[in-house]
Symmetry: C2
Subunit: 429 residues, 2 copies
């Protein structure tokens, strides 16, 4: 068989499966050093990228056009690679359990194309053990090949932070691991060639999987604690931001803000660790209590808002509400798993009209969302209440006077993001 040796030749061929926030930057980086093909199941995504359009806004048209990368949505074109890197979504299902169907499909596809000497490296977030327990059997079954005899495995968790221009792929230390000593060396060398920040090689795939899943779990829980503080302080009539600013003057206080936790990582990854934990008989009470409070923030925000709104607009079922911002994160057009959706639906049951204004998200994407009334510009002197839900720069630039002008006389503004001056809004989280 063809053994990959060090130093890696520039003729090495890398196929990246899944061209989202994770796969595209990875494939683009590898294309600078090796032969790289980016594969995605969505022909729309691939056609866009071929035309220089990146819907995730991470690359400009010229960056895409200047790259030697190839794109394909034709599964026949992924053969004859040396490395397969799988970066497909790993969401949860409606029972909040891991949905690894995309990971398994991708593994089947790679398994069908696997040749002796190949490497398969996973980047998708999973629980410790998933690569070897779930993906490996699929690869072996579809290829007829044996791990560490015929082919090799690697796991290198993605650390992409969507719309963060400071922390980009090559400036973030990358954790790498391999299925044996040889595989570890090769995987380490492969990533070292594109990550200027360097790699951190761990001694097993499971350690690498575990390291990734605890990162977002920690973030989720820290936001949950601040959300719990916000709920307590709301009852005590204390301004949460005042308290946090004071606490932050201590050298080791950790700066987090309350809010809705959406997206496809922070609110999702803890369920992967939970799943595995429960499988081995440990119910992770700390992790789950955090998830519960974060998921309960929609109800808390809705209740807080409506109880204030009731005082100025009676009856509630005649009230008109404007929500500013819809995406799961500021200045990011990604609307997957945004909790603003749930907030809007909750409010819709109780008031007459809920309009959502978000100039950052993609109109086409928005048009596929049911039940939400997106507007292209807010009415003037029209709404009884406004919720500022996402801290887009656009809203900051709009300013509080302009935002207030959307309200009727005496209407209320609920600032969830501390974006507006405290004394100019009626409620803050």
């Amino acid at each position: 068989m063809d053994i990959i040796t060090l130093p890696l030749s520039s003729k090495v061929k890398i196929v990246v499966i899944g061209l989202g926030y994770v796969g595209l930057p990875l494939a683009m980086a590898f294309a600078k050093k090796f032969r790289a093909l980016g594969y995605d199941i969505s022909s729309q995504r691939v056609d866009d990228l071929k035309q220089g359009i990146d819907a995730t806004n991470e690359f400009s048209a010229s960056e895409l056009k200047l790259s030697d990368i190839e794109f394909s949505s034709n599964s026949k074109e992924i053969s004859n690679a040396d490395f397969y890197i799988i970066s497909v979504p790993t969401p949860v299902d409606k029972d909040l359990e891991p949905d690894m169907s995309m990971l398994i499909s991708a593994s089947e596809l790679v398994g069908q194309n696997l040749r002796e000497g190949n490497f398969v490296i996973y980047e998708s977030t999973v629980y410790p053990g998933a690569t070897e327990e779930v993906c490996l059997p699929v690869l072996e079954k579809y290829s007829g090949l044996k791990l560490n005899e015929d082919f090799f495995l690697g796991y290198s968790p993605e650390r992409i932070n969507p719309s963060d221009k400071l922390h980009q792929l090559d400036s973030i230390i990358k954790v790498v691991s391999g299925s044996n000593e040889y595989a570890s060396k090769i995987v380490d060398a492969l990533y070292s060639s594109i990550i200027s920040a360097g790699t951190h090689l761990v001694n097993s795939i499971r350690v690498a999987e575990a390291a990734k899943v605890i990162e977002n779990t920690q973030r989720d829980l820290n936001i949950a604690l601040i959300n719990e503080f916000a709920q307590i302080f709301s009852k005590l009539d204390l301004d949460t931001e005042d308290v946090l600013k004071a606490a932050e003057t201590k050298w080791n206080f950790l700066s987090f803000r309350p809010g809705l936790v959406g997206g496809h990582c922070i609110g999702v990854d803890p369920y992967y660790l939970t799943y595995k934990s429960q499988q081995v008989g440990h119910n992770p009470q700390v992790i789950l209590s955090g998830r519960e409070i974060n998921d309960g923030m929609v109800g808390f925000i809705s209740d807080t808002f409506l109880s204030k709104l009731k005082k100025i607009s009676s009856p509630l079922n005649q009230a008109k509400v404007l929500i500013l911002g819809y995406s799961f994160k500021e200045n990011c057009n990604d609307i997957r798993n945004t909790k603003v959706h749930n907030l809007a639906l909750d409010l819709k049951k109780k008031v007459k009209e809920v309009a959502v204004y978000d100039p950052v998200i993609d109109e086409l994407e928005a048009s596929r969302v049911n039940d939400i009334d997106f507007i292209s510009s807010p009415e003037h002197s029209y709404y009884d209440g406004i919720i500022l839900a996402v801290a887009h720069n656009h809203f900051k630039e709009l300013g509080v006077d302009r935002i207030r002008s959307f309200c009727k006389e005496g209407g209320i503004i609920y600032d969830l993001k501390y974006l507006l001056p405290a004394d100019k809004v009626d409620l803050r989280l």
Copy 2:
């Protein structure tokens, strides 16, 4: 009445009530600028200090002797002050509810001595509202004076980190607050005169109280999460330290280690916030889940150790165990609320002998502890198992070979603190 004016005169007299980790450094700092008297209810503590002995090890004999500070345990000597600063312990009772008896006693004492124009400033950790709801009525009752007419209140939470030589009183920004605008200015000026790092003035006493109580609550919960990870990883046969080291290579992963949470702050303060939160109808599930897992670590560590010990030493009830370290924190002689105590008691029920060796703690203090067999030096080739419970430098210097020499052939070492090389111990947390 005598109105205190700015700039503060060096003739101002400050009485600090309670000379523990918090009160002593404070009184010592004020003594450099003003007339300062340190009062403690313990005549032993006061006699020691007068002789240049600081049992908390924060000040040397020469520092104490060179200071202009006065010490007293005679309550008659605290009259005629301008400022009373109360820094007494605020523990929890056996039901884990706030025990403010010392705070109330101190307030009674100050109330009896209060004169017009005086300031009373609290430094003890409490829940938001406690100063005005609990302490103020006591002051008014015992003095017959009215707040903001006859006397003034302040709250400035302590941020002392015992045995931390880097973060000392004057280098930590201090949150300050006062009962009205005038009081805020004076309290701010008072602390500004001794804190070179500066002050952070907040707009109410309740904000200052809240800021303090969330600091340790956040720390407690972050340790709890890592403890939960350690419990999960133990079942998955993953080394927690390996996983944490990998996760820490991400720029925003927060570095905490698993372990016992003892002492008089981190494990206690969350119950103060819990108490107030429950009073207003919110059960803080995130905070309490953290407390539960941290308190459960004694059982987890004991079980993990014994199930390994059982394999090498049968029957268990004949096993001899050595615990290295007893204080609640490394290189600190404070044994209040140390969870090593609970661990030793738990083990004592199941094995023949549990010896505790801690060269850092005070022999006299140790002699007052019941049920624990302190030893002045470990036996050689004697113990079936050793638990390294506190990361004193002394144990690091001792080294793993010396520590192993205390064990019988085949005995086990359980390193709770990652102090020894991973491959030289039998168990790590």
